[in-house]
């Protein structure tokens, strides 16, 4: 009897502990976070850590590597192809982002006006964003083809040039060509996001500025730009990050050629790691991108810090 009573008491105690745990905010909170943490660890933290680790080893496909410290980075520092890819990546990012911003802002301002068939034009602007990257890359590849390029054909028919342009055979031609393809693909994102930002600006601000005597240019300078600056910071950060890590366009159009002149860090990393089999070296190249990306994020973080006029008070 005594034993039975004891076990019942113990059972009651256990169940009450279980129930109490589920009534505790802290325990429940932790439980709810488990799935999110698991996903983050599995798909984000683990690959990142693995990448860091691989960069410190001489792993090759098919064989376990061993720890070699910073040797990969040391050899990369002497590798002219690596430095060329760093230059290409920076050039590609700066040139493409600047033009994407300019065209995107222009389109956004245009679409914010009263236009006939506005919704249709908006849909057309979004088109490059909707087409799968590889598909549009193949289209560009064809447009840039040395024998069948439609651009060359049109220019020859128009009598402006006499020979087909070697878009992808000459280093600088190739660089500008892939930049153009990236711009074509990236403009819709910038334009639509900036348009959304423009539409949050109250029309009465423009009316007030109009009565205050502002010209069109002054309205843009004193109302549109400052009001849009938070959105610009977000859009351009995303745009820079996406351009810096671009892979698909380059890999489909040029594969990094000619003579590595369009190799970005991402494509070079892939080439060395997967095609070349040197996983360790490839991972080191990928790791080398991190300082640049962190710098871009920090820049935008400080740029994004809400200006004083956005703080405080309710509205």
């Amino acid at each position: 009897m005594a034993v039975m009573a004891e076990s019942t008491v113990a059972q009651a105690k256990r169940s009450s502990l279980w129930t109490r745990a589920f009534e505790s905010r802290h325990f429940l909170g932790a439980m709810f976070m488990v799935p999110a943490i698991a996903i983050l660890i599995l798909f984000l933290a683990y690959p990142l850590a693995l990448g860091f680790w691989l960069g410190m080893t001489d792993t090759k496909i098919g064989g376990a590597g061993r720890y070699i410290g910073f040797q990969n980075f040391v050899s990369l520092a002497k590798d002219s192809v690596f430095w060329l890819s760093v230059f290409n990546t920076i050039f590609y990012t700066v040139a493409a982002s600047a033009v994407k911003f300019a065209i995107g802002l222009y389109l956004a301002l245009l679409l914010n006006e009263r236009l006939p068939m506005k919704s249709m034009i908006r849909a057309i602007v979004l088109l490059p964003f909707v087409v799968p990257t590889v598909l549009s890359a193949i289209a560009f590849w064809w447009i840039y083809d040395s024998q069948f390029s439609i651009i060359s054909w049109v220019l020859i028919k128009a009598g402006l040039i006499t020979r087909y342009i070697d878009f992808l055979g000459d280093p600088w031609n190739a660089r500008w060509s892939v930049v153009a393809a990236n711009i074509w693909r990236g403009v819709p994102f910038v334009a639509i996001t900036l348009l959304a930002g423009l539409q949050t600006i109250s029309p009465s601000l423009y009316e007030a500025a109009n009565l205050d005597g502002a010209t069109n240019l002054q309205r843009f300078r004193h109302i549109t730009l400052p009001m849009l600056s938070p959105i610009i910071a977000v859009v351009m950060t995303f745009s820079v990050l996406m351009t810096f890590t671009d892979f698909q366009l380059i890999y489909t159009i040029t594969r990094g050629g000619p003579i590595n002149s369009t190799h970005l860090m991402a494509t070079l990393s892939f080439q060395r790691a997967i095609t070349g089999g040197n996983l360790g070296e490839g991972a080191a190249i990928s790791n080398a991108m991190i300082p640049f990306l962190v710098a871009a994020i920090l820049l935008s973080f400080f740029g994004l810090q809400r200006s004083r006029w956005q703080q405080g008070g309710r509205d």
Binding site: S202, E207, N210, L211, D212, G213, R308, W309, G313
Partner: protein, 353 residues
């Protein structure tokens, strides 16, 4: 400062005409209030005056100059918007000085004028703040400050108090009126609130469905409304209307619904049996032995006065008494309108008889 002439102005959006020939003369230094229910075209008219909407036909002149085709910024007007339209990224001082900065005035002159306007509006301690950090009333004052700094020919106000709470609205009303008395700048003020119109205006323009129903001083409109719309719109609680006929039988009386008889001072000539609407303001009822029978429905004391809803000949009427009668719902009372201040309107046209 300058006068404003609005002559036969029409406005259409596509085929839909919203203003049907409006003419309003505004004298130099006058405070004119455009009042009417929403959709009556008063805000559109103000925006046409500002140059934010095109004028379909007719002319608007400021001073001697017809401004139909003059750009807003060249009309020398300042406008206070309903949502204030303050530039959120500029401080109070920058907001107020923006128009002068655009005109390329010296920083010294801008600071001087901004400082003076800030003093007038008690904004001096707030000049470095951003609009987000201000209360509704302060934002409202900044919007006015922006207008004052410009020292324009005409001030335009587009429902400036409708975003404020009731208490602040009353305070700002007085402040705006005081400001006008001080600056004496011609002002056109749009509101849907007839109390704002009554308390602030030199001249009220009552608009309805794109036409001017009546214009005049607040008391003219109150005492002699030209039609039933104005009579019902001006005054709070609004005027009671009873349908019936004029009876001339020795003494002129009004015979209302269910045979209720109400006094008339003198009947309009040859009007026996004429169908009319009898209008009496709530404050013009008294309790008298020779009054009409009524039954009290609801009593609403406000302290200074008591509003009484009663059934008079089956129709609900409201009466306001400043004396403290002891009324209870269901009480029978005798209500008598003061015949010297009642209004008669033609039943068909609504025009004053």
């Amino acid at each position: 400062m300058s006068s404003v002439q609005i002559r036969d102005v029409r406005k259409s959006f596509g085929n839909f005409e919203v203003l049907h020939g409006v003419s309003i003369p505004i004298e130099d230094g006058q405070f004119v209030v455009l009042v009417g229910p929403s959709g009556c075209g008063k805000s559109t008219l103000l925006r046409m005056l500002a140059g934010l909407e095109n004028i379909t036909s007719g002319t608007i002149s400021i001073g001697d100059r017809v401004v139909n085709n003059v750009q807003p910024k060249e009309r020398d007007i300042a406008m206070v918007f309903q949502n204030y339209a303050l530039y959120p990224h500029m401080t109070v001082g920058e907001n107020m000085g923006f128009s002068m900065k655009l005109r390329g005035e010296s920083t010294e002159e801008i600071n001087k004028r901004v400082k003076r306007a800030a003093e007038i509006l008690a904004l001096s301690p707030l000049l470095e703040r951003y609009p987000r950090q201000l209360s509704g009333g302060q934002r409202q004052r900044v919007a006015m400050g922006r207008a004052i700094v410009r020292d324009p020919q005409v001030f335009l106000f587009d429902e400036p108090l409708s975003n404020l709470d009731a208490k602040l609205r009353v305070a700002m009303r007085t402040e705006i009126k005081e400001l006008h008395q001080r600056l004496k700048t011609t002002t056109v003020y749009v509101t849907h609130d007839q109390i704002e119109a009554m308390t602030m205006a030199d001249k009220i323009v009552v608009m309805h469905d794109g036409i001017v129903e009546q214009m005049g001083t607040p008391l003219e409109l109150y005492d002699k409304p030209e039609n039933q719309f104005v009579a019902g719109f001006i005054g709070s609680p609004s005027m009671n209307f009873l349908k019936g006929h004029v009876r001339v039988n020795g003494v002129a009386t009004f015979e209302g619904p269910n045979g209720v008889k109400l006094p008339l001072r003198n009947a309009p000539a040859a009007s026996d049996g004429r169908p009319v609407v009898y209008g009496v303001r709530p404050e013009h009822f008294t309790i008298a032995d020779d009054g009409a029978d009524a039954e009290i429905v609801v009593v609403e004391p406000t302290g200074s006065e008591t509003q009484v809803f009663a059934k008079l000949g089956g129709e609900q009427v409201v009466a306001v008494f400043r004396e403290r009668h002891q009324f209870n719902p269901g009480d029978k009372v005798k209500l008598k309108p003061d015949p010297s201040v009642i209004h008669l309107f033609d039943e068909a046209t609504g025009k004053r008889v």
